[in-house]
Symmetry: C2
Subunit: 195 residues, 2 copies
DNA sequence: CTAGTATGGGAACGATCGCTCCACAAGTTG
DNA sequence: CAACTTGTGGAGCGATCGTTCCCATACTAG
């Protein structure tokens, strides 16, 4: 209808996500965002309303990319479920360190930074958490049904422990803990699953 | 030598700790601190140099009180080590919710908010983490030596898993997850310890 | 009581915060 | 081409940021 945009909205959201991921919500200013996204304030505010809304978009983008990718990696497989789980856990702890900076998981960082103070944020972090748990649950069920995991395994309980371990791993990765110890943790968690 | 202070430094640090704990570093302004601590800027800056240094004091205070209390609770006991561990884990997840607000653990919140960007902060969070691990390690050794835990238990590996689980529990508590599920997690973690 | 010294109160500094506004640019529509 | 619509650039809004400075205050030492 009129003048076309000079930027790709998805790309801009992706870069905003990256910045929020590395620095957190409060430590990221709109000017930082403007520079990183090569966007003037007017374009940014016209497109995204305000910083808070852009942050929600970033959370949604993260869920749609990183989280979804994680779920796919976990689900994909005719491999033994234990191997799939191990690869997935190690990937969680290894992958995000592509630029050398330890940034953990945006959802975990956000949940701890903002706590329960922001309902719109909380809804999104909880939704992301629930997706992870569901993926773990289905993998464990599958593994148990295929006889790769003990028939006596209490899946729901195991999911809680695994999920909690994942959060802990994310924190440790953000804190820069070395990979060897995180790998030990992963293997110990897996051993705890089997009899 | 001169005019005496109208405030107790320890008390002020304690209240600053509380505020940083609830809101995080970046979201807590000097003016917020001034109100909460009933301290004018001049007194605050004269006493603590600047916001960052006050925050380091808060971290140290947290380690000297909350963390130390936690370590004592874990160590204290002629009770079976498994019971001691269970009580401790549940206390970690229950206690901090005294004013209704879920605030998690200051060390975990700080580690995820600031990552590895601030060396002075990182040193303190890592030290706090290491104290927790050491306490867990000695408890597990004791339990194994007393025959309450399997003689085959790989203590170091178990410490990694338990420690990671603790971090995950702290995140979940901050995120407002309900106590029942956290309790399930604790019990599952303990079951994973024994054979 | 006087001199000396550290503190408390609070105005205000420059910088930055999130955000708005408006003139101009760049397209579409007739 | 003119009329219209939407996007861009950037100055700049009021508020707040972390911090400093000055002065009256309240204490100790002699």
């Amino acid at each position: 209808m009129a003048r076309p945009r000079q930027f790709d909205e998805q790309d801009v959201v992706a870069r905003a996500t990256d910045l929020f991921w590395r620095r957190g919500y409060h430590a990221t200013s709109v000017r930082d965002l403007g520079e990183e996204l090569e966007l003037t304030p007017s374009s940014m505010y016209r497109t995204f309303k305000d910083k808070h809304t852009l942050f929600l978009r970033a959370l949604d983008h993260y869920r749609a990319t990183e989280s979804t990718q994680a779920e796919e990696r976990l689900g994909a497989g005719d491999r033994p479920s234990r191997d799939a789980l191990r690869d997935w856990l190690l990937w969680l702890v290894t992958c995000p360190t592509d630029d050398g900076a330890a940034r953990g998981c945006l959802v975990v960082n956000t949940a701890t930074e903002l706590g329960t103070t922001d309902p719109e944020v909380s809804r999104r972090t909880e939704a992301a958490f629930e997706v992870t748990r569901a993926a773990l649950r289905s993998l464990l069920h599958e593994g148990r049904d295929r006889g790769e995991l003990p028939a006596t395994l209490d899946v729901d309980a195991a999911v809680e422990l695994l999920f909690t371990t994942v959060l802990g791993l994310r924190v440790r990765e953000r804190a820069g803990h070395d990979l060897d110890r995180l790998t030990t943790t992963v293997d110990t968690a897996l051993r705890a699953l089997g009899a």
